[in-house]
Amino acid sequence: MVKTPEGAKSKRFVDVAGINESTDKVEEMHQVGRQTKDGQPVAREKKAMDDIEKTTGKRPKFHPYNN
């Protein structure tokens, strides 16, 4: 869970996180969602990734499921 007080929502849940198993530290973040015809994440996914990046300083990697 990522607190995003300055974001479109106050908290966000990263879809998939790669976590160091002995420190609980997040090493990777991945977001899964729909993409637009020109291959960009749809607005709700973009907003989520923007919020997460603003807080953590890292942008989740996006994986579209409607290729």
Binding site: M1, A17, I19, T23, D24, K25, T56
Partner: protein, 171 residues
């Protein structure tokens, strides 16, 4: 659909949680990994060595041990429990080094989509048990709305004394 309860628990808070769980609901503690497709039981929830011990473990109702689904990870040479398809609650214990305490959580899925795309609901008995585990965990912890999490008594005391910082998992 997944359910989660976020918290900040020091090792002392975790011991109290373990005690409450043992008193209030039948539970078995399991390692995520095993040498074969069989549960690897843990005696307790204690973290042997922070920075070396894997922090995620599983809570399982004793009568559901036979329903666990195991996956082989041949490249790594171990078996692991498939949390999505198993009647189990994941407990991510908080990393603690005396100065910082990282967020931990309880998590379970109430069902999953099978390979044909059909929703498979986990047994009601498991879901009732999991709700009870969450309820027991919440009791005795203080809700911190700003953190979107519950905080253990010991963690709260250390924080108020300025000896402990609650940090996020990316910090």
């Amino acid at each position: 659909m997944g359910h989660q309860l976020n918290f900040f628990l020091t090792p002392e808070d975790l011991r109290l949680l373990e005690q409450r769980l043992k008193e209030k609901c039948p539970v078995v503690f399991l390692d995520y990994r095993s040498q074969g497709p069989a549960p690897a039981q843990l005696p307790d929830l204690e973290v042997a060595e922070f920075g070396k011990t894997r922090l995620s473990v599983l809570l399982v109702p004793p009568d559901s041990l036979g329903a666990l689904i195991f996956r082989h990870v041949p490249q790594q040479g171990y078996w692991t429990v498939d949390l999505l398809r198993s009647p189990a609650v994941e407990l991510s214990r908080c990393f603690y080094d005396g100065a910082i305490l990282r967020r931990g959580r309880l998590y379970y899925d109430r069902g999953f989509y099978d390979e044909a795309g059909h929703w498979v609901e986990k047994p009601a008995s498991f879901q009732d048990w999991a709700k009870k585990v969450f309820s027991v965990a919440r009791k005795g912890l203080e809700r911190d709305a700003e953190q979107f999490a519950y905080v253990g008594t010991n963690a709260q005391a250390q924080r108020q004394e300025g000896r402990l910082k609650l940090v996020e998992n990316w910090e």
